[in-house]
C-alpha cells in the first residue's frame, strides 16, 4: 500500500496566467515520403501563424524560447533532431530543449512550455512536437516502441508494446467488462465513432466509415483487442503558442487560458503496488466500498485496470482550473485512445465515470457529438478529431494536436479549419460528400489527455475561455 503526503498533493499555483493563442498542424499520414520532417514542421508553424493573421516571420518575432517533443530518436536515426528543426524554423539563438515522455511527449512538451511562461522566463513560447514513424519497417517500428518498456524485464518478451498493453485490456475486459459481448460491442463503438469523426478531418491519417461488425471481424491482435481497436502509427507535426496575458492579447483578441498538470506511475506495470483509490473532488470513498462485490477481482487499485498517472494529472489540473465535475464543467475532451479499452479506462481515471462504469459514457451517447439515442448534442463529446485511432498518433505531436483541436472548438473555428476545400486538396485528400460540421456549439472549456506507455506519464491540459473561468473550490 503506498500513500501520498499532503505536500505531494498540493494543487500547483502558477505565478501568472498562461494563454494559448494559436496552434497548427501538418498533414498526418502513415508515410509522407515527399517531405522531410523539418518541412512538415514549417507547415504546422505556418498554419499556427496564419490562424492569427500573422506571417511565420511575424510570429517568430514574439517567441522567446522553444520546447520540442519527439519520442524516439531511433526512428529517424538522428540525435538532436530538435536542433535541426529549430534551425529550419530559423529560431536561433533562442534557447530550446527536447522533451521525451513516450506517448505523452506532446502533453509534456506543452507542460514545459506552460511552466516557462508561468514562471516569467518567457512571454511567448513555441511548443512543437513530431514523429516520423515511416522510416523503418513496421516490425522494426514495433521493436523500437517496445524499447520504451524495460529492456531487461519486458522488451525481450515479444518486442511488441501492444502485448504489454493487452494484458491490461484482458484484465479490464474480464473484471469490469465481465467478458460480455455487449462490452466488446461498446469497445467497437469507440473505434467506429473515432474513425468516423476522422472522416471530417483533412489532416487525418486513418478515416474510415465502418460498422461495429467490421471492428469485431477485424484481425485479432491480442484478444480482446482487434486491429481496428488500435491506434495508428503516423508521421506529422503539431505546434501551439503559449503567452503571458499581455503578449496573448497583442497577438490575438481571443486567447484561451491554459492549465497543464502531469502525473506518473511505474514504467513497468509489474511494479504497481496496491493503494486506496485517490478521490477526485466529486467522488466519495463510499462509491468504491463495494467495488469488488460488483466487479469481482476489481479490488486491487490501480492494478492492471486503472491509470494512476491519469487520475493524478486530472486531480492537479482540475484543481488548477476549478473543474469540479468534468462531465458538467467541460464541453469536450480529447482522450488518448491508444486502444478502445484504454479509452474506457481513462473515462474512469479522469472522473467522467466512476471506476467500473466507464462503458456507460459510450452507451449513454454522452461521448458523441450528437447523441445517437436522442439526436441532441452529446453531453461531453470525445475525440471529435478522430483521436489516435482515426486521426493520428505521430507520438510527439499527439498531445499538441489534441489541445489545438480542443482550442479550435472553443474559438468557434473548428469548421473553418476542417471544411476548407483548399486544405483537402493540398493534402491530396477527398472531402467526403457527407462532410459534417463537428463544431461543439458554445464550447467554453475542454480537456486533452496525453498518455505514455502503460500509464507511466500522463498530462492533463485544460483550455478555458477567459469569460468562462470556474471558481476554484478544491485546492
Amino acid at each position: 500500500m503506498i500513500t501520498f503526503s499532503k505536500r505531494q498533493l498540493k494543487i500547483p499555483e502558477m505565478s501568472k496566467p498562461v494563454y494559448m493563442v494559436t496552434g497548427g498542424m501538418s498533414k498526418f499520414g502513415r508515410a509522407i515520403p515527399e517531405k522531410r520532417i523539418e518541412e512538415l514542421a514549417i507547415d504546422a508553424f505556418t498554419e499556427a501563424a496564419e490562424f492569427i493573421d500573422k506571417t511565420p516571420a511575424e510570429l517568430k518575432k514574439y517567441i522567446h524560447s522553444c520546447y520540442y517533443g519527439h519520442f524516439a530518436d531511433h526512428f529517424g536515426d538522428q540525435l538532436l533532431g530538435e536542433a535541426l528543426i529549430h534551425d529550419r524554423l530559423g529560431l536561433d539563438p533562442l534557447g530550446n530543449v527536447g522533451i521525451k515522455t513516450g506517448g505523452a511527449t506532446g502533453g509534456s512538451t506543452m507542460w514545459e512550455a506552460f511552466k516557462a511562461v508561468a514562471s516569467g522566463y518567457s512571454d511567448c513560447v513555441l511548443a512543437m512536437g513530431w514523429e516520423r514513424m515511416d522510416e523503418v519497417p513496421t516490425d522494426e517500428g514495433n521493436h523500437y516502441i517496445s524499447c520504451a518498456a524495460d529492456k531487461d524485464w519486458e522488451t525481450p518478451l515479444g518486442h511488441i508494446y501492444t502485448g504489454y498493453y493487452a494484458v491490461m485490456a484482458q484484465k479490464y475486459w474480464q473484471v469490469f467488462g465481465k467478458s460480455e459481448d455487449s462490452f466488446r460491442k461498446t469497445m467497437a463503438e469507440i473505434a467506429v465513432k473515432n474513425r468516423g469523426y476522422a472522416r471530417m478531418n483533412p489532416h487525418a491519417h486513418g478515416p474510415m466509415k465502418i460498422t461495429v461488425e467490421d471492428v469485431l471481424n477485424s484481425p485479432v491482435v491480442a484478444f480482446p483487442l482487434r486491429a481496428l481497436d488500435c491506434c495508428l502509427m503516423s508521421v506529422g507535426v503539431a505546434c501551439a503558442i503559449f503567452c503571458d496575458e499581455k503578449t496573448a492579447f497583442e497577438l490575438s483578441d481571443n486567447p484561451l487560458l491554459v492549465y497543464i498538470a502531469a502525473g506518473s506511475h511505474t514504467l513497468r506495470a509489474a511494479d504497481r503496488r496496491h493503494m486506496e483509490i485517490p478521490l477526485l473532488t466529486h467522488e466519495s470513498a463510499e462509491k468504491y466500498r463495494d467495488l469488488n462485490d460488483r466487479f469481482p477481482g476489481g479490488d486491487r487499485y490501480p492494478g492492471f485496470t486503472g491509470f494512476l498517472a491519469a487520475r493524478m494529472a486530472a486531480y492537479y489540473a482540475y484543481g488548477m482550473a476549478g473543474v469540479y465535475d468534468p462531465t458538467e464543467d467541460l464541453d469536450l475532451v480529447e482522450l488518448h485512445d491508444a486502444f478502445t479499452i484504454s479509452d474506457i479506462q481513462t473515462y474512469e481515471d479522469i472522473g467522467i465515470r466512476p471506476y467500473g462504469e466507464g462503458r456507460t459514457y459510450v452507451e449513454s451517447g454522452d461521448c458523441y457529438h450528437t447523441n445517437p439515442h436522442t439526436g441532441k448534442p452529446g453531453k461531453l463529446p470525445a475525440n471529435l478529431s478522430g483521436g489516435l485511432i482515426g486521426n493520428m498518433h505521430a507520438v510527439g505531436a499527439t498531445g499538441i494536436m489534441q489541445a489545438v483541436e480542443v482550442g479550435q472548438h472553443i474559438w468557434g473555428r473548428w469548421a473553418e479549419m476542417h471544411e476548407n476545400q483548399k486544405k483537402w486538396d493540398d493534402f491530396g485528400r477527398t472531402k467526403p460528400g457527407d462532410w459534417q460540421n463537428l463544431q461543439v456549439m458554445g464550447a467554453k472549456r475542454g480537456l486533452a489527455i496525453s498518455h505514455a506507455g502503460v500509464g507511466s506519464h500522463v498530462t492533463a491540459t485544460i483550455l478555458v475561455h477567459p469569460d468562462h473561468q470556474l471558481e476554484r473550490r478544491n485546492s
Partner: protein, 199 residues
C-alpha cells in the same frame, strides 16, 4: 569465418569493459526512387552490437541458470514500507532508497504463483525470439507487492491459473527469457528443450 562468428565479445578487466572482435558492420547504402524514377532518399544499413550493464540486478539474471528465482525485500526498520518484497528484483528499496536484501522466492513461486492477467498474440516486433503465438502472463505471488511479467510455455493461460517457474539451465541466454512458466503439475518430460524445474 562468418560475420556472426567474428562478432564481438566483452569482458570486464580492471573495472573497464574490454571489447574484443567486431562490434559493427558497414554496408553500402542504396537509393530510394519513386514510381516515376525520382530520388526520394537512401537506405542506411548497419549492424551494431551494444554493451549492456546489469549492475546490481546481475544476481537475478545469473541465478536463473541455477534454477533460482530471486527478489528483494526492504529490511530498513526506518522505512515506511519495511518488509515490502519486490519482484522484479530491485537493488534498492524504491521507498527509502536503502539497499534491499535479496530473498530467494523460488519456493514462494513454486507454491503460490498464479496468473493475474495474460494475453496471447501472433504479432511480435522485430528481433523476437519467442515461439508464436506468444503467451504473456503476469504472475502474482503470495507476500510479493508486485506482479512479474513472463511467458507461458505450455497450455493456454487463464486468470487465476496456478503456474510454476521453469528455468533454462542448458545454454542460458542470461536474459529474462531464461525464466518461463508452465501450469502446475506439468510433467518434467513435457518441458521445452533446455528448461528444467527449480533446483
Amino acid at each position: 569465418m562468418t560475420n556472426l562468428e567474428k562478432r564481438g565479445t566483452v569482458k570486464v578487466i580492471n573495472g573497464r569493459y574490454r571489447p574484443n572482435g567486431n562490434f559493427h558492420y558497414i554496408y553500402p547504402n542504396t537509393p530510394i526512387y519513386s514510381d516515376s524514377g525520382e530520388l526520394m532518399g537512401v537506405t542506411n544499413p548497419r549492424d551494431i552490437t551494444h554493451i549492456h550493464t546489469y549492475g546490481g540486478e546481475a544476481h537475478f539474471f545469473s541465478s536463473l541458470k541455477d534454477g533460482q528465482l530471486w527478489g528483494t525485500r526492504c529490511d530498513n526498520p526506518a522505512c515506511e514500507h519495511t518488509g515490502t518484497v519486490n519482484l522484479p528484483y530491485k537493488t534498492y528499496c524504491p521507498d527509502c532508497l536503502k539497499k534491499a536484501t535479496p530473498v530467494n522466492l523460488t519456493a514462494v513461486a513454486n507454491s503460490t504463483a498464479k496468473v493475474h492477467t495474460f494475453m496471447v498474440t501472433e504479432r511480435t516486433g522485430a528481433f523476437n525470439t519467442l515461439e508464436k503465438p506468444v503467451r504473456f502472463i503476469n504472475i502474482e505471488f503470495y507476500g510479493v507487492a508486485t506482479i512479474l511479467m513472463g511467458y507461458l510455455s505450455i497450455g493456454e493461460p487463464k486468470i487465476g491459473m496456478r503456474v510454476v517457474p521453469i528455468f533454462r539451465m542448458l545454454d542460458p541466454t542470461f536474459t529474462i527469457l531464461d525464466l518461463s512458466w508452465v501450469p502446475e503439475e506439468t510433467p518434467s518430460e513435457n518441458l521445452p528443450s533446455g528448461f528444467s524445474f527449480s533446483k
